[in-house]
């Protein structure tokens, strides 16, 4: 919540003398009262993916630092900010509040966050809409690599008039895996294995699949007025915050 100057109005007895503009009185010899308007604050919900896939390529550490930066900027603008970690389901986080104390609360929480469980964006976001009905700005920081999809969860948020921003965070290992030869690929979340000979061709096909997955996600977001940003944990955080997100008008 913030106060913004709107206009002057002539003083009437009973008005709060604290708002008298004494400079104007000095010039015009008449008393004027400064009138302000109060801007209603918007709650910001930071959804942080803490599933085990975020462990790979230090994505979770990067996501936590990014969430901290965004929380600080939100609180600095007099907004209420809360952290909602999730994996297969919503995990207890920090409920939205304003004030500088909240930022320290959020930092403390982010320092302790640990990866756990499998990703289920749909389940987590649906659960969220059930427990909290006040709409606001929902920022989803996740690698979005959820086998059961993400569409239902995001649609649920849209239904409750949340403004959504998706920060799609991938690691360099996800974007350009440096794998070669005969391997047993293991899903870091489910521990399921896939024996595979990785040749240049196999890598090329993987890249194609990843591009296609990203394209579908981006299309979905665009078609539902959701802002989408692809981020890499290999990029310096400052560059992500001050260049990528500012260029996309996400930050002012």
């Amino acid at each position: 919540m913030s106060l913004e100057f709107a206009e002057y109005k002539e003083y009437y007895p009973g008005d709060d003398l604290r708002y008298v503009d004494w400079n104007l009185y000095g010039r015009l010899d008449r008393l004027f009262i400064k009138v302000f308007t109060r801007e209603e604050d918007v709650p910001i919900y930071l959804f942080l993916d803490i599933s085990r896939s975020m462990e790979l390529g230090a994505k979770l550490e990067y996501a936590a630092r990014l969430a901290g930066a965004l929380a600080y900027l939100g609180i600095k603008d007099w907004n209420r900010v809360g952290i909602f970690p999730f994996a297969s389901d919503l995990v207890r986080g920090v409920p939205p509040r304003g004030g500088y104390r909240q930022i320290f609360e959020i930092f403390r929480f982010l320092q302790q966050v640990q990866p756990a469980g499998e990703t289920s964006i749909n389940e987590s976001l649906t659960r969220f809409t059930r427990i909290r009905r006040e709409s606001g700005l929902a920022i989803l920081i996740s690698d979005m690599l959820s086998e059961d999809g993400y569409e239902a969860g995001l649609a649920q948020l849209l239904h409750y008039r949340y403004e959504i921003i998706v920060l799609h965070l991938l690691a360099p290992e996800d974007l350009e895996p440096r794998l070669r030869g005969e391997l047993r690929l293991q899903n870091i979340e489910s521990r399921a294995e896939l024996p595979l000979y990785i040749s240049k061709e196999a890598l090329r096909v993987y890249q194609q699949a990843l591009v296609e997955y990203r394209r579908q996600l981006e299309m979905f977001c665009r078609s539902h007025d959701i802002r989408y940003y692809l981020l890499s944990s290999g990029m310096p955080l400052e560059e992500t915050v001050f260049q990528t997100l500012r260029q996309g008008a996400f930050l002012r």
Binding site: L56, G57, L145, D174, A209
Partner: protein
């Protein structure tokens, strides 16, 4: 082929480790990924898998080959091949000062040419066991017999000419013999001039390395300073040499103790030594430098234009002390710097008085009829001085002939004696001091004998601690052995005299570097550079002038005509070995093997990650650099 370090072949066993790592790597590794669904649908491709296995096998093969090459490199294999040339070769490089000359300002020095000729000899005799010697006043062994030509090459290239004179043939021969008692198949002497000995008679090959044109050298070949007998001035003697065909008028500059003393032009006639005697008034300086200024004038060797001189210096008397010791007299002689003492308890037939200026006899007897210079203190020197019994001295006063130069200015009336020894002296001498009828000081001088008898018992009188005593002793020594002046001019290659020293002697060379003798450094005390050397012992400093031997400046005419006249072939190659002789050249293979190993390692690296050598990788590396 042999291996110098055959133990390194054990390194080949590391191949087993590499093979084991390979087989372990063949098993499919577990690799975590964020999601599997992006990889699904990619079925195992047996063809690709087979190719991958083959490429892995190539990698293993390259690694094993690189390991083999590295192990063989460390093992230092030597390959022997048939070769021409001789089996044992001695290269004698003339290291004397004249090898510093260069006929043309832009040409290499004679020594550099000798180095080139030496290296050429190594190339021409690849199978030879080589010995390299540098020949000068003190010849030096540069390389003992070795088949390692790389070592010989390094030693030859790193060597430099000295400032010493020519070598002595007997020294050189004994040095050669010490390295190969059975002799060398070929000895090549690389020099810039004809040696004083007949090289051909010794069976040596003489290679004259020098210029192909007549020399143009001017030099100061002698320089000395002498004080006038009246001590009111001094003379400088100087000789200058001009080896060119023209008369030359060259400025001569003389400095004394660092101050300019004289500067004048001297005319040097061609092919002649021109002597100069220059007289100066005033006190004698301690160090003189004479220099011919040859700026802009053709001169083959500039370093011999400078010569250093130190006037002769009085040296201490060398005294052989025989008999009992006496604290006062011994300390006085030692610490006054007047004398170098050698102490002996009694006269011995084996003693050789030669080399001593004076023999001091203290309360001992000398065998009859011994010739020499004697200072006898209470000692009989028969038949000239014989001693009797000791008697108490009552109140008899000492009578002295104070008109004699030995006693002039002394006052023996203050001397007090407790007792005196009766003595009978030869009437051929003079009695200068008596107490009663007893002679106390007697001097005698005949052919072959100079004797001073001093009959006062120093332990039973105050004479030893009187002010007159050291004066009297100094005069007696001066009378017995007039002061000897020592030549302080040395040639490079000589050794500084250390016999008159006690304890450690500090030697300061012309560059200001010091060494304390005795020293582990064999060069300490050896005069190796032109300039002034300083000798410091017990607070006494002596200066010596060190100069290049003058013969080194008299550079021979080695123009082709002169060489033909001397019947010397400036370049002569070694005779080939007789047919059927088994000559083998050792070729070290390790540099080639190291190259192969590095190449294989690069191939393996490329095989492992071809992108490593791509421009993109380079850009990425530069981007990641802080």
């Amino acid at each position: 082929m042999i291996f110098l370090s055959s133990w390194a072949l054990w390194l080949l066993s590391l191949g087993a480790v590499i093979a084991m790592v390979y087989f372990l790597k063949r098993q499919a590794r577990l690799m975590p990924v964020s999601a599997l669904f992006l990889w699904r649908g990619r079925e195992q491709n047996p063809k690709s898998s087979l190719r991958w296995h083959w490429t892995q096998l190539v990698g293993l093969f390259l690694q094993l080959l690189a390991l083999t090459a590295l192990a063989l490199t460390v093992a230092q294999p030597i390959l022997y091949t048939r070769a021409s040339g001789v089996r044992s070769l001695a290269i004698v490089l003339d290291g004397s000062a004249s090898m510093r000359t260069r006929i043309d300002p832009h040409s290499p020095t004679a020594y550099q040419k000798a180095i080139d000729a030496g290296l050429e000899l190594l190339r021409a005799n690849p199978a030879a066991e080589v010995t390299v010697i540098q020949a000068q006043t003190h010849s030096a062994l540069l390389v003992p017999p070795t088949k390692d030509h790389a070592q010989a090459q390094r030693a030859i290239t790193a060597s430099s000419p000295t400032y010493q004179g020519d070598s002595d043939l007997s020294d050189l021969l004994s040095l050669l013999q010490s390295q190969s008692p059975q002799g060398f198949e070929q000895v090549v002497y690389l020099t810039d001039h004809h040696p004083s000995f007949d090289a051909a008679a010794l069976g040596w090959e003489l290679q004259i390395v020098g210029g192909a044109q007549a020399p143009e050298n001017v030099a100061i070949t002698r320089f000395a300073a002498r004080e006038h007998p009246n001590a009111r001035g001094y003379d400088l003697y100087l000789e200058a040499w001009n080896s060119s065909h023209d008369t030359r008028r060259i400025p001569l500059r003389i400095t004394a103790d660092g101050q300019l003393l004289d500067e004048r032009f001297v005319e040097l006639a061609p092919h002649r030594i021109s002597p100069y005697a220059l007289q100066y008034e005033g006190p004698l300086a301690s160090q003189f430098v004479a220099q011919l200024i040859t700026d802009g004038i053709g001169d083959d060797w500039a370093e011999d234009n400078v010569r250093y001189a130190v006037p002769p210096q009085a040296r201490p008397w060398k005294i052989l002390w025989i008999g009992e010791s006496n604290f006062y007299l011994e300390r006085f002689l030692r610490f006054s710097g007047y004398a170098d003492l050698a102490l002996r308890p009694s006269w011995d037939e084996a003693l050789s008085p030669a080399g001593y200026d004076v023999i001091l006899l203290y309360r001992t007897d000398l065998p009859k009829g011994t010739a020499g210079r004697f200072l006898s203190i209470q000692s009989a020197v028969p038949p000239w001085v014989t001693l009797g019994s000791t008697i108490e001295v009552t109140d008899d006063a000492i009578e002295a002939r104070t008109d004699h130069p030995l006693l002039a200015g002394l006052d023996p009336r203050d001397w007090r004696l407790l007792r005196a020894q009766e003595a009978s002296v030869s009437p051929q001498g003079q009695v200068l001091l008596t107490v009663g009828e007893i002679p106390l000081l007697y001097v005698h001088n005949t052919a072959g004998l100079r004797l001073a008898y001093f009959g006062i018992d120093l332990m039973a009188s105050n004479v030893g601690v009187s002010i007159d005593f050291p004066i009297l002793i100094y005069r007696l020594l001066s009378w017995l052995a007039p002061t000897v002046k020592e030549n302080a001019n040395l040639q490079i290659g000589q050794e500084l005299s250390l016999v008159n020293s006690e304890g450690t002697v500090r030697i300061v060379d012309p560059q200001g570097q010091t060494c304390d003798f005795p020293s582990e450094d064999a060069h300490c005390g050896l005069v190796e550079q032109p300039g002034f050397y300083h000798w410091i012992n017990n607070g006494v400093t002596r200066s010596y002038a060190a100069n290049v031997p003058s013969q080194e400046s008299l550079i021979s005419d080695l123009s082709p005509d002169a060489a033909n006249l001397a019947n010397v072939h400036p370049t002569r190659t070694a005779e080939p070995a007789p047919a059927g002789t088994d000559l083998r050249a050792a070729i070290p293979l390790w540099p080639y093997l190291l190259g192969v190993a590095l190449l294989l390692l690069l191939m393996e690296l490329w095989h492992f990650d071809p992108t490593f050598f791509s421009l993109q990788a380079l850009r990425e590396w530069r981007r990641r650099r802080p």
